[in-house]
Symmetry: C2
Subunit: 470 residues, 2 copies
């Protein structure tokens, strides 16, 4: 069940602005917003960073702050400290121009810090109400991922139900890139994190090509969705890339077959797999094939322990090659080197894209609150065009939501956007991977640049998704 709701889109034209001169953006907004609200109104707005860090969070706050300075003089912006717990405990700081200045265009969430608490129980909602009343909040901006924006939506409903004046606006944050839909084309931080990981992967590739001594196995940060891995593959062209969603589909089909059919020696059962899954199955080494055909756990799922995949794969390759050596089928030397790139990517300096996108998200959140909107997520569209052509607005959080059964209860949640096997980014990857597998088409993109050629480039994923939409 999907609850569709009103999509609000305020079309506005943003001028191009450089990282060092974000101020330019403001004047343009002024003219367009004049008609929508009373310029004399002073607002009290709170902002909170929720969950794991993503590059650009400081620019969202800078965007909100600058909007208030420009269009609602005398307004106050409170930064809640340490995530949602800061709202519940009313721990905050009043953000000033001087306080914000050193954090502009910087990575991390250290301006007001973040946290993973949730506002869920009736007592916690009550605490949030008390803070909203105490600070006389006109609005609250929640910068977070899928769960945090779900929370923002519930908070908006709750404040409205209690007749509080406090409006709530969400902002799409997560390096994982799994909070997106047509109106919210990407979450901030994804662009930067992928470019940092791609730099490291590219360096390791050149290292491999220079000596031929090691085979490198890289694991990247992320949860269920594999957008980061897919994007990094598109940027660097590794020999083999494992996309979780593809493996998941194969596993789902195998589960079905193992539950209802007999696995015959003649491999007739394989005909029940879809073409895509059969291709993948045949591509996997025999040891993994066998593991996938083993007994399921009590829930009918593959029993994969939470081990370090990159090290497991190295060991599996070692075992397989040793076997082949014994059989006289392999004479080479295999040395595996494992890497995990994770925390390095969450707090880097935002790319020009993330810096600009975040500032627009924040400025847009200011507009939405000033216009009296609530329960929306700040959305910036037309991202494939130059910044002057971007459109800014808000999308009803409910339109992103679905109902899931969690802990025995139906709950409205924002559905995680997984890598779609029919989507343009995966199809592009699938069309190239055979060539990459054998021909070493390594590409090393180098460090993120803030000026010069390519410094404003958007991710392959976003570019391909926008292209497919157009």
């Amino acid at each position: 069940m999907v609850l569709k709701a009103l999509l609000l889109e305020i079309q506005m034209r943003l001028p191009s602005f450089s990282r060092v001169c974000l101020g330019n953006l403001r004047h343009c907004w002024c003219q367009l917003i004049q008609i929508r609200h009373c310029p004399d109104q002073k607002l009290k707005i709170g902002v909170v960073l929720s969950g794991g860090q993503a590059p650009g969070g400081h620019n969202v706050i800078s965007g909100i702050f600058d909007y208030l300075q420009d269009r609602a003089k005398g307004s106050i912006l409170y930064g809640f400290r340490g995530g949602p717990a800061g709202i519940m405990k009313c721990k905050y700081i009043e953000l000033t121009s001087e306080y914000i200045y050193p954090y502009r265009n910087q990575g991390g969430f250290d301006m007001i810090a973040s946290g993973r608490d949730k506002i869920e129980t009736p007592e916690q909602f009550k605490q949030a109400e008390e803070t909203a009343l105490k600070l006389e909040l006109d609005g609250l901006v929640v910068i977070g991922g899928d769960d945090s924006n779900t929370n923002a939506c519930l908070l908006a409903e709750n404040f409205r139900a209690k007749n509080l004046k406090t409006r709530v606006i969400g902002c799409p944050k997560t390096i994982d890139g799994d909070l997106k839909c047509k109106e919210v084309p990407t979450s901030f931080g994804f662009d930067t994190a992928c470019k940092i990981y791609a730099e490291m992967i590219g360096n390791v590739m050149i290292d491999a090509r220079s000596t031929g001594k090691y085979y490198h196995f890289v694991r990247l940060m992320g949860r269920a969705a594999s957008h980061i891995t897919l994007e990094c593959a598109l940027q660097t062209h590794p020999n083999i890339t494992i996309i979780g969603e593809e493996v998941q589909q194969l596993i789902a089909e195998l589960n079905e077959i193992l539950a209802h059919d007999t696995v015959d020696e003649g491999s007739l059962w394989k005909k029940k797999l879809t073409d895509q899954s059969l291709l993948l199955f045949e591509f996997l080494p025999q040891a993994i094939q066998e593991q996938l055909m083993l007994e399921r756990d009590p829930h009918g799922n593959v029993q994969v322990a939470k081990i370090e995949t990159e090290k497991m794969l190295i060991e599996m390759v070692e075992t397989e090659l040793e076997k082949r050596k014994q059989e006289g089928a392999y004479e080479g030397q295999f040395k595996g080197q494992s890497h995990f790139f994770g925390y390095e990517g969450r707090c880097g300096f935002p790319t020009n894209f993330d810096a600009t996108y975040c500032y627009a998200l924040g400025y847009g959140a200011g507009v939405l609150l000033h216009s009296g909107k609530t329960g929306l997520i700040s959305s910036v569209g037309n991202l494939g065009a130059s910044v002057e052509e971007w459109s800014v607005g808000g999308t009803a959080l409910t339109s992103l939501m679905d109902v899931e059964r969690r802990h025995g209860k139906f709950k409205p949640v924002i559905k995680k956007a997984m890598v779609e096997l029919e989507g343009a980014p995966f199809k592009k990857f699938a069309s190239l991977r055979d060539e990459w597998a054998l021909k070493n088409r390594y590409t090393s993109p180098g460090p993120i640049q803030f000026s010069g050629p390519g410094s404003d480039a958007i991710s392959h994923t976003l570019l391909l998704e926008l292209g497919a939409q157009a």
Copy 2:
């Protein structure tokens, strides 16, 4: 015993040049070199990359090539494939303008690849002679670390003893930064590798400051010398930095005490430690203190297994804090997160400094060979000034050498430059670390930039060492 020899220094003025326009350098050289040699002489030169990769190697080769194009038209440059083995097996490629072009300013050694073989035995020297004769080599440039440059020196001697016309020039390469002396102020690759590691460390620091969830423990690549760690500390200001040389000195003093004295309960023995070592000893957690006082191995050395130090330290802190918790002396929460930054730094795009420095090293090697010099290491001086003021020349490899006992024989070797505890970089670090320890002075330098402010900055280590010399 140190063999001091003639220092040859050709003073030349280099014009400033950008990464994308290295060609400018050439015209300036021409005027200065005219008087030194016959411009009509055609040369046959070989070049080899030896040992682990370091960013900038391709620019050394580009510098040699451009020198030959400019000043000895019709010359040939051979690239030996896969390191010194390429010389012994006469595996080479003739380098052309088109072949070199895509590698200019790029990281890695993939243009001709590298290897770790050494030319050591009489048979191997014979093979090298055969190659030199077969290709009619006028010169050979060996791009490598301390061992490879030792090898270059022996090769130069050998070719001269055999009356071959082949001259040999070395170039100082190693990210470890342990190949340096007054005339060779730094080895190439050190600058880039440290900046890549410092970017990652800085990101992790901002991550730590944003959540306060983890204590991060970072291990960096390197052998005995700790220049990389010291440089990264100066760039990022971590709470605690372990400099191997300092620990080594403490261990050496402890070995002496344990061998000759009784370790009394009253700690009178500590008075035999130097002030520096006593300070360090007291600074260490008790568990490590105790480990240092344990029995020595048969050679009288501390028995430290080759384990992952960063993970060992996390476990030690966990154990200590658990003990304190039991005693009621600690109430906090400790979660350690380990990192190893290594291969990511060896093959990155060279910084502007390394790109320029390498090109000058290569161009200088061309000059030296054209002038008939042998047994020198290409040296670029006055690096603290703008590029126009750099001086270029050669230093006798023997002047860098010492005699060490290896495998039961006295052998001439280039002594590794360790971090000097009386040197300017370490003293700077020592003067600041107490403040860093408690006050979280984290600095995140961000990704390497190729244009804009700071893009031409040299390392703290080099800057401090040059300052101390001046």
